[in-house]
Amino acid sequence: MKFGVVVFPGSNCDQDCYYVVSNVLRQQVRYIWHKDTELGGVDCIILPGGFSYGDYLRTGAVARFSPVMKSIIDFAQKGGLVIGICNGFQILLEAGLLPGAMLRNTNLHFICKYVYIKTYNHKTPFTCLCKNGQVLKIPIAHNEGNYYIDNLSLEELKRNNQIVFRYCSSDAEVSADFNPNGSLDNIAGIVNKKGNVLGMMPHPERSAEKILYSEDGLNIFKSIIKWLDKK
């Protein structure tokens, strides 16, 4: 299995993603510079967290015009697996690969802490090893994670089972009390209609080893590997 981690100016979780794939999961991985137009035959693209282009204008707004994005959009349209984490999610939204947009967190704070998320769709390539309703403990670290979409499109997301994760309590209660950032309907992660592009605000690469107090993020990476193995 070959992963590609895209590096934009300002990405800062690229090395963590690379480390988890190579050292923890023992899979092939390469960096893809944002100016590259060749993806090098990878099976899965990771858009890592960070502050691409300093978050200027809007998070992800400038990164989506990087040369590499055209290849990634082609790759995604052909069914290739793409996971955007945090800023990667924001870039996918700006690029139109996922619907909706991000607003500032309602409390205006940069929030960096462990949260719980509940799995609502365990049939995606990114969650196929999760049980339905499984709660994962994965940290968030963002200033703009307040997901917004208009009502009609929200209904469509629900109808198509595109909401993959919602913020919840440690025992799977989903309510405003456990919504860290004001995100609509407690949304923490969504997939596109085809299910091959995932965006999520929590950082699975930061919860992939015991020493980090949670290995729940491995569920995501291992699901991808299992899914690709089956193909």
Binding site: L57, R58, A61, V62, F65, E94, G100, A101, L103, R104, N105, T106, N107, L108, N146, Y148, I149, D150, G182
Partner: protein, 86 residues
């Protein structure tokens, strides 16, 4: 030279966490008549272009492609001839 002033704000239907916070801050200063506070962006672009119609087309394109996100934001702009500086 033409100067375009672009105002980008969140749509009415979209909540504005910054605006709400500023509203509360202003109220704590004693301003009690506030119905609403909205925060936006103000962009000034100087264009090497003489034709206002062409400038309008260009600025509108810029807003649609990059400067505003149509899912959450709306924009307005005005374009005028820049006064010559001495």
């Amino acid at each position: 030279m033409l100067k375009a002033e672009i105002r980008i704000t969140l749509k009415k239907a979209v909540s504005d966490p910054q605006g709400l916070t500023i509203k509360r801050a202003l109220e704590s200063l004693g301003y009690q008549d506030l119905e609403d506070v909205r925060i936006g962006k103000f962009v000034v672009i100087r264009l090497r272009c003489k034709d206002i119609n062409s400038a309008q087309e260009q600025i509108d394109g810029m807003c649609k492609k990059l400067l505003a996100n149509p899912i959450i934001e709306e924009y307005q702009f005005k374009i005028e001839e820049e006064g010559r500086t001495a």
